[in-house]
């Protein structure tokens, strides 16, 4: 490029930046997809051991619980709120259900266990929704409160001991594998059946957001609550619905966590909140509400799982993962702000 920049050049460059910004505005999912691509190519070049099916299985397995959480957070975020209590809901539900089933009805089938956990999670989520409506306070602050209340309740009144012998139905479910493959280092890696649960949950969330009235209401309320209210949407019921949905997914995620680890630890899942929110933000959902897609969220989740799984392959010690995650959130935030400013 020549040193003197003519007005025409500048105009063309502005047009180019505008078109790029416009593209990402229309497809915010592309940001996460791009990062995944760069990461995969980079890691693959530095360490060819990356390219094997076993690794893909590992990443899918690692994405399920976080993915279920992220779908819930997406719903709440799209409706203009923020939820950080889902990990506590999952811990409470998984421990309470596992304990109850073991003590009272060890032969309960998996379907019933899932229904119990979904209902339990939805109820706890609904409490969040009611409180956010009633207190008229930022939902971040409200759900920080319920997070501590739920987890404190679990540890004080339900139990603190590990549960090693989980019900047989859950054990079988966790072991159920769709495919298995032996990796280069001799370990056999399986594609677990519970990946299907994430697929079903993602499809259901997508269909609900896209085709149902309540799904459209979620975006309307998240985008402009005042206008949505004037159009006749009941903001409080929408809020109740999204928090209940997030709670339901969290309950299911808790059961999957127990089944795949074959133990119920009430201290588990704490501290996962930020990485889940990071995944949703990276997937293109705006924190101010009214946007976000299921596809983008899933891409964000894969990206986060990728970061925590593969950095070790290229010699970055795991101690630096958190810092890189933070950088990712910040760069996503800055990227989406700039893109809005340019278009």
């Amino acid at each position: 490029m020549s040193l003197s920049v003519t007005a025409n050049d500048e105009g063309r460059r502005a047009g180019f930046a505008k078109r790029i910004a416009g593209f990402f505005r229309r497809y915010p999912e592309a940001f996460a997809a791009l990062l995944i691509l760069i990461l995969c190519i980079g890691v693959g070049l530095l360490n060819p051991a990356f390219w094997q099916l076993a690794n893909l299985f590992d990443i899918l397995r690692g994405s399920v619980v976080r993915g279920l959480f992220a779908l819930g957070v997406l719903m709440v975020l799209a409706a203009g709120g923020l939820d950080v209590s889902f990990s506590a809901i999952a811990a409470l539900v998984m421990y309470a259900v596992t304990k109850a089933v073991t003590l009272f009805a060890p032969d309960t089938g998996m379907v019933l266990i899932f229904i119990m956990s979904a209902v339990g999670g939805a109820l706890l989520g609904a409490i969040n929704g009611v409180l956010v409506n009633a207190l008229k306070a930022p939902s971040l602050i409200v759900t920080i409160g319920t997070q501590y209340a739920y987890r404190g309740f679990l540890l004080t009144f339900i139990g603190t001991a590990l549960f090693m012998n989980i019900p047989p139905a859950m054990d079988h479910f966790g072991q159920w594998s769709l495919m298995s493959r032996t990796a280069e280092n001799g370990f056999t890696v399986q594609l677990p059946g519970f990946v299907l649960v994430l697929a079903v949950a993602a499809l259901a969330t997508w269909a609900m957001l896209r085709f149902t009235l309540i799904g459209r209401a979620v975006y309307a309320v998240g985008g402009r609550p005042d206008i949505a209210e004037r159009l006749g949407y009941r903001v409080s019921s929408v809020q109740l619905f999204v928090f209940a949905w997030a709670g339901m997914l969290a309950g299911v995620a808790g059961i999957i966590h127990v089944s795949s680890n074959r133990l119920a630890n009430p201290f588990d899942l704490a501290g996962i909140e930020l990485s889940v929110i990071a995944a949703v933000i990276l997937g293109g959902a705006r924190i101010t509400g009214g946007s976000g897609s299921v596809l983008g969220t899933l891409l964000g989740v894969v990206l986060i799982t990728l970061v925590s799984n593969v950095l070790i392959l290229i010699g970055i010690p795991s101690a630096w993962q958190t810092a890189i995650l933070g950088l990712f959130i910040l760069s996503a935030g800055v990227f989406f702000v700039l893109q809005k400013r340019w278009s």
Partner: protein, 327 residues
């Protein structure tokens, strides 16, 4: 306006008296002896300083919040522990070591706060996202630098004395906390910065058209919060003679609880330093009371969560008629 303010202050004084009375009834003399007060007084500053940072962020409005406080406090401690021994030997010159420790910690806090300020003020990120990101970033850097383990300082006389030796019966961290809080109160009350901050928080659009430099104001506010966090980091290092990346993770919640209990409006534009100080003291006394009554830590977490919800509810009840009169 004044009646509302005094109401909050009176309420907090009442809460403190109530907790003391409850302590006298349930625990008796061992709670109100000098030693217990000194140990409580040494613990309040960390929480209090972090809460003041959250308060500043909240006052600035626009969903302002600082979730990165404790992460930055720990990071500034870690930075100081790693950097200072390269310049000053702790055995040969303990006083110089302590001073440089404080200096490095403050610089780290300043830089971290400035990063928050840049992201929120100039780049225009939502405070939640920016401080979530920097919380992870600060924690991550602290983990990366230390490899995840605690770093001990060893016994450095002036620093240890500062943390653990009361002077005329007053723990020095507490004295420092009161000094910093008073300074902040004066700035908020009398300096132009304070007046502009409250205006900005109550109505950002009006503030912008009134010629208030919104970006610079946000930058300064979050940088100030970072400095407060690093003072907390120094006190933590002095008191415990060690630094660790995951010290006091529950302070994220508890600092917000303190601020909400102090009547700071989450929507911005209102908050008082003295209320935050009283509210931090009340929570510390309650926490010690739980300890004396040997109530489990888990129940304490549960109680903190419920208290936060309770105070959000009470703020809602108090403010409604007041708002109607004003508008």
């Amino acid at each position: 306006m004044n009646r509302q303010l005094d109401g909050q202050l009176g309420f907090l004084v009442g809460v403190n008296v109530l907790i003391l009375a409850a302590a006298l009834v349930f625990v008796g003399g061992s709670f109100v002896n000098l030693f217990n007060f000194q140990s409580m007084g040494a613990q309040v500053p960390e929480l209090g300083l972090l809460s003041l940072g959250v308060m500043l962020a909240m006052i600035s409005g626009n969903g302002g919040i600082d979730l990165s406080g404790i992460a930055l406090a720990n990071l500034s401690g870690v930075m100081a522990v790693l950097l200072v021994p390269l310049m000053v030997s702790p055995d040969a010159a303990p006083v110089a070591y302590t001073l440089s420790f404080a200096f490095v910690a403050l610089v780290a806090g300043c830089l971290g706060g400035a990063l928050n300020g840049l992201l929120i003020g100039y780049a225009g990120l939502t405070p939640i996202i920016a401080t979530l990101g920097t919380q992870l970033l600060f924690t991550g850097i602290a983990v990366g630098l230390t490899g995840g383990s605690a770093e001990t300082l060893g016994y450095i006389v002036p620093m240890d004395d500062f943390g653990n030796m009361p002077f005329w019966g007053v723990p020095l961290p507490f004295a420092l906390f009161i000094a910093v809080a008073s300074l902040l109160a004066v700035i908020l009350r009398f300096a132009g910065f304070g007046k502009r901050l409250f205006l900005l928080g109550s109505n950002p659009t009006a503030a912008f058209f009134a010629g208030i430099p919104v970006r610079r104001m946000l930058f300064t506010t979050y940088m100030l919060a970072g400095v407060l966090a690093s003072v907390a980091g120094f006190i933590i290092a002095a008191r415990t003679s060690s630094v660790k990346w995951d010290y006091g993770t529950s302070y994220v919640l508890v600092a917000i609880l303190v601020v909400v209990m102090a009547g700071v409006r989450p929507a911005g534009g209102y908050g008082r330093v003295i209320c935050v100080v009283l509210s931090a003291i009340a929570l510390q006394m309650l926490s010690s009371l739980f300890n004396f009554m040997s109530i489990s830590n888990f129940f304490r977490d549960c109680a903190w969560g419920l208290l936060l919800l309770l105070f959000l509810a009470s703020a809602r009840i108090d403010l409604t008629p007041y708002r109607r009169v004003r508008s």
